[in-house]
Symmetry: C2
Subunit: 197 residues, 2 copies
Amino acid sequence: MPYYIPQSRFISLIERKVCMAEIAVLRLGHRLPRDERITTHVFLTARAFGASRGFYSGQTDSSLEKSISSISENWGGKFPVAHEPSPMKLIRKMKKEGWKVAHLTMYGLPLPEVQPQLASAKKLLVIVGGEKVPPEIYEAAGFNVAVGSQPHSEVAALALLLDRALQGKELERAFDSNFGGKVKLEPSAKGKKIRGR
Amino acid sequence: MPYYIPQSRFISLIERKVCMAEIAVLRLGHRLPRDERITTHVFLTARAFGASRGFYSGQTDSSLEKSISSISENWGGKFPVAHEPSPMKLIRKMKKEGWKVAHLTMYGLPLPEVQPQLASAKKLLVIVGGEKVPPEIYEAAGFNVAVGSQPHSEVAALALLLDRALQGKELERAFDSNFGGKVKLEPSAKGKKIRGR
């Protein structure tokens, strides 16, 4: 069979009339121990909001990679995370392969103004900055995107950008069926309902 | 004068046709040094996304309070942060004063299903959990709200909830004029444009 979509996913795509883009997230300049939890939150948010893989530059962190892969093991889906010593090389390579590149920065253009281009991308690389982002990143990015123009959090900024790129689909119950996984939650008005553990 | 709205804010409200709710954020069980950066991100996100004050329980952290107040000093607006030794007492008091209470938990009801109630609240207290949230919080909350049903980040969850409560207004250029502040950014396709410093 030359082309195969699992039936459940196929039906779910038709029902939701969504052509899901392929999304990757690149986190720049990871520092230990300072960024340990924030970078974990960046990748968990990326995974939960529809991205399919992560890259990071800066210090290598096997504990970060392990904690993301153990979440995927239990909660489903695949979200490989790889260390990338040369982010500019990766960006150039992905641009050649047809990826649109969005860089999150509060200095950029307001998210609502670039949303149509983000939502129509087939392959989207989202760059999440670190302490000091070199000017070449601003130059290489097709879109420098501001999520508000106040200082807040790269995790919040990433969440909103992915939400707008996926047009809110990541919050729907059906979206969760993309993950599979050993553990599943049942939405509940009070308390906790867990299935499959 | 019995009732006064500064003219700039009044015009801005008319232009945007927004009746802004009063929003407060309560972070439970702050632990040092583990939660230092995440709680900072929680409050910066709350501030940038339209909340007007923060409370936290757990360990007192004067450096957290100072870093948020120094951001407000430079970037405008007021966002007082207070330690609250008894969060349940605060929740009961605020409920009596007419606040709706939303508790962020991945076990709750999907955000899109409770959005109308959140968006119509005049006074909204958002509770952001910590390591172990006692069952009484689930009971006290009018809404237990799930931002997706995958594990990710309280910062991302808070951002999405506030976005839906404010219906995206926090991303508009006009929203920024609510803050005032010594520093202001000029949106830019490439590079950085800073005014007033």
